[in-house]
């Protein structure tokens, strides 16, 4: 079974803190993704990575950065957390070939106060 794990299910941080969200997959997937999900706005892609040390901006990269030093691990960084970054964050991974589905982690619900 494919497993995508995220470091925390719930996280509460203060405005201005630096926040790290970690995602690990165990299936040797080339591609990894970070989304945020907010009521009424659906899933929005923040960043994705198609290889180690490679990254591409998604639709809403502002205020975020990412790191992928190892194939299995993809980190999302909020350099200075703000209250509008309170959200559910979902990590996902998939193989790079055609027709492979994307597997999601359990999600991290981040609250910035």
């Amino acid at each position: 079974d494919v497993k995508v794990t995220q470091s925390s299910r719930y996280l509460v941080k203060r405005t201005g803190e630096k926040v790290f969200l970690e995602c690990v997959q165990d299936m040797d997937h080339e591609n990894m993704f970070w989304y945020r999900q907010d009521p009424g706005l659906g899933l929005r892609l923040i960043y994705f990575s198609y290889d180690v040390k490679m990254k591409e901006k998604g639709d809403i990269p502002e205020g975020y950065s990412v790191s992928r030093e190892k194939k299995e691990r993809f980190s999302l960084i909020l350099e200075s957390a703000s209250t509008n970054q309170t959200s559910m964050y979902l990590c996902a991974s998939r193989y790079s070939g055609a027709g492979y589905e994307q597997y999601f982690g359990p999600g991290t619900r981040l609250t910035v106060t």
């Binding site: 899933l43 994307q102 999601f104 359990p106 999600g107």
Partner: protein
Amino acid sequence: ELKVEQNPLFLSMQEGKNYTIYCNYSTTSDRLYWYRQDPGKSLESLFVLLSNGAVKQEGRLMASLDTKARLSTLHITAAVHDLSATYFCAVDVASGSRLTFGEGTQLTVNP
């Protein structure tokens, strides 16, 4: 830019009834995915459709793909309460590229 639209966005139905959720997309693709999300949980893969005319069935759910019409349907047969969830379709247009998701259809099945 690829657009993926689902309708309806909200669906309230009675147990035992049938209904269909529609997923339209704007660019040629023969790869479409359906996901389910329970409240407070993550997304779980339901179906992967990889060619024109593909049909997949699991229990009371059946998904199909018409690439010429750029349309996928998710048909619910004799709905039960356990099917209450949000259903997303997603499309990709190139090998291994990002998926583009629809807005999701929130389904509520009432006793």
